[in-house]
């Protein structure tokens, strides 16, 4: 839906003004970040052996993903996963996890 179409309905326009409505950008980032949950827990709060992502500094996560992408560190699977994401996606996801308390 285009922004203009969205704003054309009164109900939707009201929503845009509502403080707690999350933006489309947020839902997109949440969708990307939620893919990590299968091994790293919902919102990055891991319950098992894999490291938690929640609350990690964004710069740290970005650095790690770049190293996985470059094949610079020996890992079992993350080098294969990291290559599937663009730098912009990784930055957005890192910011999401950094913000999880």
């Amino acid at each position: 839906m285009s922004l203009r179409k969205l704003a054309s309905t009164a109900g939707a326009a009201l929503l845009l003004l509502t403080a707690n409505a999350v933006s489309a950008q947020d839902l997109q980032v949440k969708q990307w970040a939620s893919a990590c949950a299968n091994c790293h827990g919902t919102n990055g709060k891991a319950v098992g052996a894999a490291p938690a992502l929640a609350g990690q500094p964004a710069a740290e996560l970005i650095k790690k993903m770049a190293a996985y992408k470059a094949g610079a560190v020996p890992v079992t699977i993350m080098h294969q996963i990291a290559k599937g994401y663009t730098d912009a996606q990784i930055e957005a996801m890192a910011a999401f996890f950094a913000a999880q308390k």
């Binding site: 839906m1 922004l3 969205l6 309905t9 109900g11 939707a12 929503l15 845009l16 707690n20 409505a21 999350v22 933006s23 489309a24 839902l27 997109q28 949440k30 969708q31 990307w32 939620s34 893919a35 949950a37 299968n38 091994c39 790293h40 827990g41 919902t42 919102n43 709060k45 891991a46 319950v47 098992g48 052996a49 894999a50 929640a54 079992t76 699977i77 294969q80 996963i81 990291a82 290559k83 599937g84 994401y85 996606q89 999880q100 308390k101």
Partner: protein
């Protein structure tokens, strides 16, 4: 239930903070933005239900209709068959979906969908209204292609154990009762079927059990496909390294009938095979309700969906997830993939029901671990990204891949995966 009552009922408000949930998210009911009904509490349905509640901050009411009292996981169930894990290890309660996420749990089966009135009818007789419906019933078996198994009595004797639960427990008992020196014969259907590497992992786990406890017994694996469907080299190496003399693999063997009385498998071109324990995995199609609701648009077998929203190509306001869908290229029918469907659909449903723009660039991964021994594991992984031009999910080139060699570290990660995905859908 009032919010205060709810917080008291789970013990402490601090628990909510620790779990990262807002109180609004956990309030039972809610629903100022409408009502979603989810059919089926498996990897996709339970995940979608939980994430719609989380991401709408309780503004969308969710009812989950599931006939089983507890969730029993197919992943890791082959280890139960091999005696390495117990049923309790793969069983999880649905209680947190209600208690923490305010999802209304209905233990029943949906028998009809009225897309005009937007209601579903339960086997118990009552109806539930919905604004959006999520259909995630998993798979059904095409017993009509195996005449000897096309009745309830035969099906109570020859297990598929391809839906974890009572079938898993019964097949394990049959294996335990089998005398040493016996033959366990299992069949793999033509694809697409749920969990492509699953049959080969099962062969490993049951051969491992025989090697430990019934060393004169063997597994005969009849595959309707022309070769091992997934992780072929890795499984064949495991069979050679660990199960020489225990696994007899026979490709191009399609089961066309079963004589339950004499425990005999019949094939299209090959000689009959008698065994002590049979495990027949029939061909599959979308779960019954997906087909009777007119959603199985591809050969009345699989449901085609829009990969941005998982909305059915046949019905508005109805979404289909998990093993019931016609997957995108390179997208396996796996629990991991189903969980990703659930979250992608949840984001779209929340966007549509709260007047936001639907996320237009979904990306998610598939990771599939298989245990080749009690503690050594191999994986296959892929990353899938939405292609605007082709309007489907495509595997990202250069990403994904296989384990070079079975190893114990990934055995730890495989169990970590199971714990986290179960938690992601149910905790």
């Amino acid at each position: 239930m009032k919010r205060r009552q709810f917080i008291n009922s789970i013990g402490a408000g601090a628990g909510l903070t620790a779990l990262g949930l807002s109180a609004g998210c956990a309030t039972v009911g809610g629903g100022s933005k409408g009502k979603v009904v989810v059919i089926g509490g498996g990897f996709s349905g339970a995940t979608a239900a939980k994430y719609i509640r989380m991401w709408s901050e309780g503004a969308i009411a969710v009812t989950l209709v599931e006939p089983n009292p507890m969730f029993v996981s197919c992943p890791i169930s082959n280890l139960v068959l091999g005696g390495v894990k117990q049923m309790a290890d793969i069983t999880t309660s649905y209680d947190n979906l209600k208690g923490r996420h305010g999802i209304q749990m209905v233990r029943d089966t949906v028998v009809a969908v009225d897309t005009a009135k937007r209601t579903v009818t339960l086997a118990g007789g009552s109806t539930l209204p919905y604004d959006r419906l999520i259909v995630s019933p998993g798979i059904d078996f095409m017993y009509d292609k195996i005449p000897g198994l096309n009745n309830a009595d035969a099906q109570s004797k020859v297990m598929h154990a391809w839906k974890a639960g009572a079938q898993t427990a019964t097949l394990r008992k049959q294996l335990e009762a089998m005398p040493d020196g016996g033959v366990f014969a299992m069949s793999v259907p033509l694809g697409p079927y749920r969990c492509p590497p699953g049959p080969y992992e099962r062969a490993c786990q049951i051969a491992g059990y025989f090697k430990r406890e019934k060393p004169r017994s063997k597994v005969v694996l009849f595959d309707a496909n022309k070769d091992v469907v997934s992780k072929g080299k890795l499984f064949k190496k495991a069979w050679a390294d660990h199960y020489s003399g225990y696994i007899d693999y026979r490709p191009n063997h399609k089961v066309i009938d079963v004589d339950v009385q004499t425990k005999t498998l019949k094939f299209d071109f090959n000689d009959d095979m008698k065994a002590n324990v049979l495990n027949v995995i029939p061909e599959m199609r979308a779960g019954t309700i997906a087909r009777t609701a007119g959603l199985a648009t591809l050969d009345n077998r699989w449901c085609e969906v829009d990969f941005l929203t998982f909305e059915s190509k046949a019905q508005k306001n109805v979404h289909v997830l998990g093993d019931s869908i016609q997957g995108a290229p390179g997208m396996p029918k796996s629990g991991h993939m189903a969980n990703q469907h659930g979250k992608t659909c949840a984001a779209a449903v929340v966007a549509m029901m709260t007047g936001q723009e639907v996320p237009s660039s979904p990306v998610y991964a598939n990771t599939c671990y298989s245990f080749v021994t009690a503690d050594e594991v191999v994986h296959v992984a892929s990353v899938h990204s939405y292609d605007v031009e082709k309007k489907t999910m495509l595997a990202v080139k250069g990403a994904g891949g296989l384990t070079p060699e079975a190893n114990k570290l990934e055995g730890v990660y495989a169990m970590n995966w199971a714990q986290n995905i179960w938690s992601d859908m149910l905790a």
